[in-house]
């Protein structure tokens, strides 16, 4: 009998090990539940009342500077606290990133639909590192927040998201969103595209007519980011993460991210990058969020963690 589990076997094992260790901590799970804010009104008042008490000292105290070793993060007893805080930080690359591959050369007549798609050079967005080593398009999220701030939730849930196909590139390349958010799949190109989503619980494969649109409404969250491709133009890829809470962010050009109104106390934070997959364990790394303040937590992607391109 041979079981045929797919990739991430090692990651999974690692993740389970962490969980197991965390579970052995005894109080870990209890504490997680204890933090849960049962009464939304209390949470709301706490959130609004907390305002902007700046607490840089607390922030530096609570956070390990970079990817903390799992043992270190799990042995520390989880901190319970009430209130909301902001988690911010930067994802940086340790090592030299290879120059992005050119997917479509400018004016390449052999490219599919070259009249539209080869007007500009298309570069791989698999790993974008800027001069200061900041990594773009990294998803930082809380896999299981211990509480959800209704304000933050309604802010993210009411957003409409545009997923554009422009000059044969998906825009945005990495998209994190909440369930029941309307996603407009739009094509700004005069050629047919298809949006083939392999995102867990949100899989579909729709043809998008030239300049056409379609609307999607993800009903269920996914456990991890998933790929979205256009099979007509195979270089077109994007990644979506669908969560049922508002605690996620995608890093900007410099690798910065910020998540507001995070429940205070110890939270698991997961970092995911498409070429590396999980930077932290899939179940997340412990970060202590200071109530009513900013907590800074940076993450590092090591060059050795990056997967082979082919």
């Amino acid at each position: 009998m041979l079981s045929r589990w797919t990739r991430q076997g090692i990651l999974t094992l690692g993740g389970m090990a962490i969980l197991a260790v965390a579970g052995c901590g005894g109080k870990g799970t209890e504490a997680d539940q204890a933090v849960t804010v049962a009464d939304p009104t209390v949470a709301a008042s706490g959130g609004s009342g907390g305002s902007k008490a700046s607490a840089p000292a607390e922030g530096s105290k609570s956070a390990a500077p970079t990817t903390a070793a799992p043992a270190e993060s799990t042995t520390a007893a989880p901190v319970t606290a009430s209130g909301w805080g902001t988690l911010k930080g930067r994802v940086v690359f340790d090592g030299d990133a290879a120059a992005p591959k050119i997917l479509v050369a400018k004016g390449d007549p052999n490219a599919k639909d070259s009249a539209v798609c080869a007007t500009n050079e298309i570069k791989s967005e698999r790993l974008i590192v800027d001069a200061s080593k900041g990594v773009k398009n990294v998803i930082v999220y809380l896999p299981k927040p211990t509480a959800v701030n209704p304000e933050a939730k309604s802010a993210k849930a009411s957003a409409t998201v545009l997923f554009d196909q422009k000059k044969c590139i998906f825009e945005p390349h990495v998209l994190a969103l909440m369930t029941n958010t309307k996603v407009e799949l739009k094509s700004s190109d005069s050629v047919s595209h298809n949006v083939n989503s392999k995102v867990q619980n949100n899989a579909f494969n729709d043809a998008i007519a030239p300049l056409g649109t379609a609307v999607k409404n993800p009903v269920a969250p996914a456990r991890q980011p998933g790929q979205v491709t256009c099979d007509i133009h195979p270089w077109m890829t994007a990644y979506w993460l669908v969560l049922d809470h508002p605690y996620f962010a995608v890093t900007d050009d410099k690798g910065n991210f910020e998540i507001k109104n995070v429940p205070a106390g110890t939270q698991k934070v997961t970092v995911w990058q498409e070429a590396t997959l999980f930077v932290t364990p899939a179940a997340g790394q412990d970060v202590n969020i200071a109530p009513n303040g900013e907590t800074t937590q940076d993450f590092t992607i090591k060059a050795a963690q990056v997967k082979s391109e082919q």
């Binding site: 009998m1 041979l2 079981s3 045929r4 589990w5 797919t6 990739r7 991430q8 076997g9 990651l11 999974t12 993740g15 389970m16 969980l19 007549p109 052999n110 490219a111 599919k112 639909d113 070259s114 009249a115 539209v116 005069s190 050629v191 047919s192 298809n194 949006v195 083939n196 392999k198 867990q200 619980n201 949100n202 899989a203 579909f204 494969n205 729709d206 043809a207 007519a209 030239p210 056409g212 379609a214 009903v219 269920a220 456990r223 991890q224 998933g226 790929q227 491709t229 099979d231 007509i232 195979p234 498409e274 070429a275 997959l277 899939a282 179940a283 997967k307 082979s308 391109e309 082919q310």
Partner: protein, 1211 residues
Amino acid sequence: MPAREETYRNQTLLHVVFAISSIAMAVTIVWMIMADHLRPWKETQRTFHYIEDGKLRVEEQKRKDEINQQQLADVQAKIDAADKTAEDNTKEINKIRGELKKIVGRYEQLDTETRFLKAELDSQRSEYDLKIDLNQNREAQRYVADVIVPSEKKLNGLRIEFEGIKKQRTDAEKRVETLEGNVDVLKKERDKLTLDMNRVSRLLTQKEQQYFGPPAFLRGLPLIDAAAPPTKIMQISLPELTINYNFKDVPRYDRCQTCHLGIDRANYDKDAEGKDLPNVFKSHPHLTEGASTTDPSGKRVTAGLYLDGNGPHKINSFGCTICHGGNGSGTDFSYSSHEPNTLHQAEEWKDEHKWAEMHHWDEPMLPKRFMESSCIKCHHQVTDVPQAQKLQAGYERIVKYGCTGCHTIGGEGSFGPDLTEERQVGPNLRHIASKVSKEWTAKWIKNPHAFRPDTRMPRFYGVTNNAGKKDQPKSDAEVYAMTHYLFAKSVPPADFVDPQAKGGTNANLPPAQASTDAAKGKDLFFQKGCMACHSHKDFPPSSFPSSVQEYAKANHGPNLSEMALKFQSNAQGYKWLVNWIKQPEKYHAKTLMPNLQLSWGDAADIASWVLSVKGEWPKKVELPDVDSAEVQPGINELVKLFVTKGGWKDPASGKTQSVSLSEVDGFVESLKTDDKLMYLGEKTIGRLGCFGCHNIAGFETYKPIGTALNGWGIKSPAKLDFGHITEYLQAQTIAEDGSRDGTDPFFQEKLAHHTRTGFLYEKLHRPRSYDYKKNDDDLKSWDDRLRMPQFVWADDPKAVEEVMTFILGLTGEKISSKYLPSTKYTPAQKAVAEGAKILNRYNCTGCHVLSMPKYTVAAGAKLEESLTDFETNVRVAYNNRNNDFLKELYPKLKFDPKASADELIKGLPAHDGKPVVIEAMPAQALEDELSVQLWQPVTIRGFTFNVGDTLTLSKSKVGLTPADGGNFAWLFATTQAEKTGTDFPTFWNRLPPPLLREGAKVQTPWLTSFLKDPYMIRPAANLRMPRFHYGKDDVKTPALETEGIANYFAAVDGKEFPYQQIPEREQSYLANAEAKHPEYLAGGWQLMTKGACVQCHKIGQFNPTGGPQVVNGPDLRQVSTRFRPEYLAEWLARPNRLLPYTAMPQNIPPVGPPAPGVPKSMEGQPWIQVKAVRDTLLNYVNAVEGQLAGVAGKPGETKPVAPKGAGGGGQ
């Protein structure tokens, strides 16, 4: 002479003698009676009756407990109440009863009167008719007025009175019933509640009378039991399943049920207390499941595989011994020829039953380990009983290792499986000199296992009857002689081509070795699917993800690790390899290695890489030089032996000449070594039967050398030569587990008793050991010694037993055709069994998946533990139907766009505890959570998930049955996914497609011709469908095999074959469609060319854009002959509901704005659009012609709009 008181004998003495003999006789009679009374089977039956009694009582109690006591009590209370009411009302009831009596009297009287009057009236009416006939009209009329009318009036009066009295009667009866409290209705209600219990109770009473009650006890007392005993022999007579009693076929009587009383009853595993029953009483496996049958209403229902009267092996028409063997007439443990499965069991039996091996019953019972043997007595196709796994494994092993090269199995006039269609398993040796070196060949022949530990070639030398030092010169002489013969007879393959000179760029010729890229060759070796059949030391299983390591051990073809060592030189090796990889059929016309349709460049790179891996002998083979003093005497001795026996044959002229005994020595000394080798080589190849597996020049007309195996399964052990096998075993050192030279104590015992199974085991395990103490040339000359070689699996008891299981089933018994499944099989069943053999032969499952992995939730398991996110799964699946539900396609699925998923989920019933089988491909995994994509619909808690829907499983809680087939595809996809971190199913688009639903998908004739000449369907695939070399030879048409495969797939999917109608191509169909939707085909054409299809597919004059690296779909020209209409429609509408991983998007949405190119008359009718496109594709030529005419008439109108600019349009 006066009478005297004196007697001849002493009376007293006589009295004593008489008294003693009387007593002795009495004792003997009692002994006799008791011996009869205590016969073991009677004792067994008594024990069983006791157990049965207990079980029935428990059952009765259980049924009693099942009764809803509350309900029963209620009803009983009502009955009691009614009884009481009746008692209270006795007076009144009696009064009414009295009245009723009178009423009934009057009722009956009136009834009789009415009847009489009616009869009278009938006769009067016929009187009237008679008068009319006689033309007495006047009299007739008078008669009516005078007689008939008054009668009618009277009758009417009576009727009215009768109705009145009838009502009185019913009323009175009703009143009585009411007064009695409606007790009858209540009693019926009570009986209904206790129905099940009453049934058991009745059975118990019946059985008590018959078997275990006091009267039965009395009948069963000694002596009295001669009359009507409760114990009796149970017998099944089987006049058509005869036994051969030396030249006479006699009916079979199976008395097994005399003791095995619980065998055909379900649930006879535990006794009343829940303890295990003794084996003798246990139920047969698969009594209630494992097969299916058609019930009277025509529905398929499950039936028991064995003994079930509705199943395929009914107890009363099959009995027991036809499958199990043994002496069915015997009622004694030993005489029925029971056979223990292990030594331990034998010891137990000896203790319990005084068991002893029966030597003189030719069909001893089959020990459990060989039980599956008997299947092939009737199931001659073998592959039609896939459940018999050991038997299948044996069959596959026999085919794979080429046993049929020497041993005939089946064929003209035989009765049993027919393996005569199997081809030679060894390579063609007619061109051997162009392939390998002489030195390598000689060593290989001497010990092939030393070079390749898993080869199919068996060992002929170094085995027990020629491993001795004394035999070395002769062994080596033969090795050299055969090598010499093969090389001397070898001719170069006609169509092998030389590589080009360096720098040559002709794509139709092999490139120069210097310009090949070995590193690329290594990648290609993996990419092009070589590992579907071969393994290689540079791709060790440990280098692959752990879940697919098993798939890196392919051994359908040879392990290629040490390949480089075989050749004469690097350049020669390169030429041979590149030619072989590119066009293997030029070397061996019917090789199992397919033509992979590679380019010369790819073939050259692979060849170059294979050669670049340094080869070595894993084990050294010592072979002294041919001219050495260690070999020459052997050559001379053997040549002398053969010349003495059969004269000399001159290798050059082919003439034979006899040499007189006295001249032999001198004659042989005078011969040249080469001539001697040639002569000896021919003799040896003929003696060892090498031509059974290899194509060898000069042996075209030779017959196989082994014993034919037809009927071997009942060959009398008296006809088997056991030689000095016991002595042989005694001479071996005994291992810790009691085995000697790998023969375990069980088979040692079998050999000691000279049984068939013992002989067969040793024959496969140490084939030459029967020559022990006969190896001496004085006893058995060299050429008389046993020749059966030793296979590489000889030391693997599991493998040996697999082969034995098959051989033991070759009994050759002529079984009445009524019992043969093949006479009852439908064409589909036959096609599946036949096809399975062909698929196995060509290792189709090395690349293609036949069924996806099956994830199972065990019966009774908690559903929410296995399916961790069931409600989300339902919500997502249901929600997706908004996007792709078409009622025409999914009549069985529920969907109402207005109903919300939440309501649906709330309304779902609880899990019924039945096992759930989910056939799906793993999609994503995280921690213990695995999401899988369905490949077959599955219904859970009343909700049916469609193909393509996702379920979330807990890896640790669900069971997993691996996929059937697709080994290389899993290996490649999983490895790539792990390496790149991309989704795993993504890679399947470029891999060999799973063949689930293949029969529903393609037209059988298309598949047949595609297999013969596989063309490129999907330009994007990594590797091409190879071209196999079908047919054993070209005389037996290869078409049989290609057709067989095509029919197999259609049969598996329950589709029509070998031909199918395509009504969509008929004029009437098209005319009808055109009438409803003007320009039907033109509309379909427009949908395709203006829609998204042209983006990826070539349609008529429209070519998709992009260079060679762009992934495009198949040319749509081939669709009309390839697809079946129903499948094609679903495919066009919802591709991922058939092939979940496909890149083809859903082009025709059920809702939303119309897609580009939708003709007006089809707007808002997605199903019509699908059909129009489908029918256009099926009538492709028509459609293209229509377009050509249209283009000529109205230029510019059909120009595709989609891609603008240079690359866009057609050309």
